[in-house]
């Protein structure tokens, strides 16, 4: 269950210290390259991630955490089932797009509109994920490739819809109209953090319970560990795969809806793609080796790196792109030891077998 974590804690301590030291060295070199004042950079980082007047930067971090964790949870469900779905981005876009369009077009009481839109967004995300599943199961396109390629059409479909039929012409941008103000997710009192994070918290709890305690989660995981085994003992592998993908896509769709109703209040072309929410979600899962309850923590960690880097740029002029480098280096040093068996479970290679 959590042998990854045990590995983290057991023995190996020196090599973990080694990894941490290596990461620090890489970052140090980069800082020197950028000619950054070290102390300022550090305090800028901490302030940017956790500080600000009335903790406004911490709230920014939390707001970003919500989206990253949401995407991470979505990806985790797929990965644990051995489904290498890296089409979270497309599912996210499908969700955001549909959420905005439904909310704009559907008349009715705001709360009803809000929930129907969220539901529609989840359905859209699920459908988009199912499409890649169908491509894999019935048309022979590997999920890894199919799900990735499907990210692009939906992005352009979204772009087209808000550039032409549903464009808010007055705004001058490629974006939809605003969703009705009454459907906007409220802020926590006295803050500028919307309650979208509560939805994500619920999704996380669901994912943890699902993974550890349900029959479906157990079957999906067996399928993930060894698809041949799952087939041989008569698990309905195709159905499992499609259901898991749908679940995964629905959560990505939910995240899209939260970005619409909580943050941007409309669909803006590129708003869900450019910040790399989906990719950050993937690495957040990889960092903790797909252990469900650790995913929210690692999502928060990466969100803090991003907002911290922005703070570092403001105070010390260190390019905030350093956040990407930090994430990559951490993944390289940490995940290369925690999660070994992705490839095997993605079914690319016949396992080496070994003498048995």
């Amino acid at each position: 269950m959590n042998s990854g974590l045990k590995g983290l804690l057991r023995g190996e301590l020196t090599s973990w210290v080694g990894a941490a030291a290596s990461i620090a060295v890489v970052l140090f070199v980069l800082m020197v390259l950028a000619g950054a004042p070290f102390g300022e950079a550090l305090s800028g980082f901490v302030d940017g991630a956790f500080g600000g007047r009335r903790f406004s930067y911490l709230l920014t971090t939390l707001s970003r955490t919500a989206l990253i964790v949401g995407m991470a949870i979505s990806v985790m469900l797929s990965f644990r089932a051995g489904l290498f779905n890296i089409g979270g981005e497309g599912q996210l876009v499908a969700g955001g797009l549909v959420a905005a369009l439904v909310a704009i077009m559907l008349p009715g009481p705001p709360l009803v509109v809000l929930f129907l839109s969220i539901f529609a967004a989840m359905a859209a995300g699920a459908l988009w994920a199912l499409l890649s599943g169908v491509l894999q199961l019935y048309l022979g396109v590997p999920l890894l490739v199919g799900s990735l390629l499907l990210n692009y059409p939906i992005r352009y479909i979204g772009s087209y819809l808000v550039a032409h039929p549903f464009r808010d012409v007055q705004s001058g941008m490629v974006q939809s109209h605003l969703v009705p103000q009454a459907t906007w997710l409220p802020y926590f009192p006295g803050t500028r953090l919307d309650i979208g994070i509560l939805f994500i918290a619920v999704a996380s709890v669901f994912a943890i319970i699902y993974s550890h305690t349900t029959v479906h989660g157990y079957h999906a995981r067996l399928n993930g560990l060894s698809p041949d085994f799952a087939r041989a003992v008569g698990l309905p592998v195709n159905k499992l795969a499609l259901q898991t993908l749908a679940m995964s896509g629905a959560i990505a769709g939910l995240v899209g809806a939260i970005a619409v109703f909580g943050i941007h209040h409309r669909y803006i072309d590129g708003m869900l793609v450019q910040p790399l929410y989906a990719w950050t979600g993937i690495i957040a899962v990889l960092l903790v080796g797909m252990i469900p309850w650790l995913v929210p923590l690692s999502g928060f960690f990466f969100a803090a790196i991003q907002t911290g880097a922005a703070g570092m740029e403001r105070t010390a002029d260190v390019p905030k792109e350093i956040a990407l480098v930090m994430q990559a280096v951490i993944i390289l040093f940490v995940a290369s030891r925690v999660s070994g068996a992705l490839l095997a479970s993605s079914g690319r290679k016949a396992s080496g077998g070994g003498d048995a």
Partner: protein, 506 residues
């Protein structure tokens, strides 16, 4: 060339796989090494060959101590090894396979295939081996592949030849030809190490026998000075299990009937196959691996779609059903590949034990798992099958091969279905475990279940089956009743109309 191993010790973490073993290998001799699974035979040879690094001990060749940390050094010193599993590139030609790793290179590192061809011809001819060098290995039969392996060793001009279980995949005829080649090598003054589980072979060809158990060398001596029984006692470290009593039993009603079943195979279709099985009988399917047994089993279990034909299980037509519904209709399946198909190695023993159970209510509460019930069931299997494992929550990957197999067998037999399909159920497990698994299959038979036993081990087929079917080239080549069965008769059917896989030795 004399090779002497002294005090070799190999450790894998806490496990001491080879414990202070000293051994001499003499030219012009065939030296058999025997022992249970996991006794350390392969590991000892891997240490000699530079594939693993011994924690202690020395290797000396013709009196001088040598060290190497990769096979490169061993090959240069004149050692050659044919591994337990074929070390071949299926997509390459025979010639490419043979030159690989010791390619004669011309300019800019390009391989001089012509030179290799010439050199190979010489050494092959001298032992009377003929094989098409431009054929792709993937198209070769198992016996031919074995020849490629031997040619690889010959090509490197090895003086010491190590063969790790070379016969486990061969038909009796192929085995005979292999032994003829080995004898020719012995005559040429080469030293040969032969690892095997088959004591008949030891008695047939070996000049010297060494027995290993639990990493230690138990005994070593001239074959002529020992007996099969003595060796067997050495292997298991105790008395041999008593020969199994076979209770006569009249077969009951038809459990499975297969009518003109055709399944897709690699390159060509398998079938049409027609057979039927009754309650209380074990039907053995013999054959050289790759003759359609795997496809037949997969078509029966639903893992592979059948192209045409009918399958009826306990009166229900099942050819259109999926795996789950076929299992519910009364089928259990012990797959050959326990690592990938039999178990999910990353999951716990309990999780593995409960997978594929139809009585879902027994280990779940609504959509939720009943972990306690799952653990209870796993514990009962562990006890009943004497599985040596840390516990129900240990990962399946921590078990040894034999114990893994017991878990698979236990899980499937516990379902007590009318039909049990067992595919090489004792492949690569040791004598003790083999005996246990055979006993279980016999028990099933005696209790009135039908058992379809697919095995490449003739001995196993002969020991268990009430009727024997032989598969060749995707079809049933014939049926032999238990009383009329003999190794020779079946061996012939296994290769009926076969192109001679192994060339005649001059």
């Amino acid at each position: 060339m004399h090779v002497a191993l002294s005090g070799i010790t190999v450790r894998f973490g806490a496990l001491t796989a080879v414990d202070d073993v000293s051994l001499a290998i003499t030219p012009g001799e065939i030296h058999a090494i025997v022992g249970e699974n996991g006794a350390g035979k392969s590991t000892l040879m891997n240490a000699l060959f530079g594939l693993v690094e011994p924690a202690a001990g020395a290797i000396s060749i013709d009196g001088t101590v040598r060290r190497w940390t990769s096979p490169r050094g061993a090959i240069a010193a004149g050692l050659g090894m044919v591994h337990q599993h074929f070390m071949l590139q299926e997509e390459m030609t025979v010639l490419e396979n043979i030159v690989l790793c010791s390619e004669p290179v011309g300019r800019f590192g390009f391989v001089d295939f012509a030179a290799a061809h010439r050199r190979l011809k010489e050494s092959a001819d001298s032992h009377g081996i003929v094989i098409g060098l431009d054929r792709v290995v993937g198209d070769l039969s198992v016996g031919e592949r074995q020849v490629v392996e031997i040619l690889k060793v010959l090509y490197c001009e090895a003086e010491v030849l190590i063969l790790d279980e070379p016969t486990s995949v061969l038909t009796p005829q192929e085995k005979d030809r292999l032994f003829a080649i080995l004898k020719s090598f012995r005559a040429a003054g080469k030293a040969i190490v032969l690892i095997t589980h088959k004591l008949d072979e030891v008695m047939e060809i070996a000049d010297r026998v060494s027995v290993m158990r639990g990493g230690r060398l138990i005994a070593s001596g001239r074959r002529a000075e020992t007996s099969k029984e003595e060796i067997a006692r050495g292997i298991i470290g105790g008395e041999l299990p008593a020969a199994r009593q076979r209770r006569p039993r009249a077969p009951g009603e038809v459990v499975l009937s297969v009518d003109k079943l055709v399944a897709a195979g690699r390159g060509m279709a398998v079938g049409p196959i027609t057979l039927s099985m009754r309650a209380g009988e074990i039907v053995g399917i013999a054959g050289v691996s790759g003759n359609g047994q795997a496809e037949l089993v997969q078509a029966l279990t639903g893992l592979r779609p059948s192209i045409s034909g009918a399958i009826t299980l306990c009166g229900v037509r099942i050819e259109a059903l999926d795996v789950e519904r076929r299992r519910q209709a009364g089928m259990s399946y012990i797959p050959e590949d326990r690592q990938r198909v039999g178990l999910a190695l990353g999951a716990t023993v309990a999780e593995n034990a409960n997978a594929g159970r139809d009585d879902r209510a027994a280990f779940s509460r609504g959509p939720f798992l009943n972990r306690a019930a799952m653990t209870r069931f796993a514990r009962s299997l562990i006890e009943r099958y004497r599985i040596r494992v840390g516990g129900a929550s240990a990962r399946a990957s921590t078990m040894s091969g034999g114990n893994k197999q017991k878990l698979v067998v236990g899980r499937e037999l516990a379902r007590a279905t009318p039909l049990v399909i067992a595919e090489n159920p004792t492949w690569g497990v040791d004598i003790g475990a083999i005996d246990f698994i055979h006993g279980e299959l016999m028990r099933m038979r005696d209790e009135g279940h039908a058992v379809l036993l697919v095995s490449t081990e003739l001995d196993e087929i002969l020991a268990l089956s009430d009727r024997i079917l032989v598969m060749y080239a995707g079809r049933l080549a014939g049926e032999v009743a238990r009383d009329e069965a003999s190794r020779e008769r079946i061996g012939e059917m296994m290769t009926s109309r076969a192109v001679d896989a192994l060339p005649e030795v001059a």
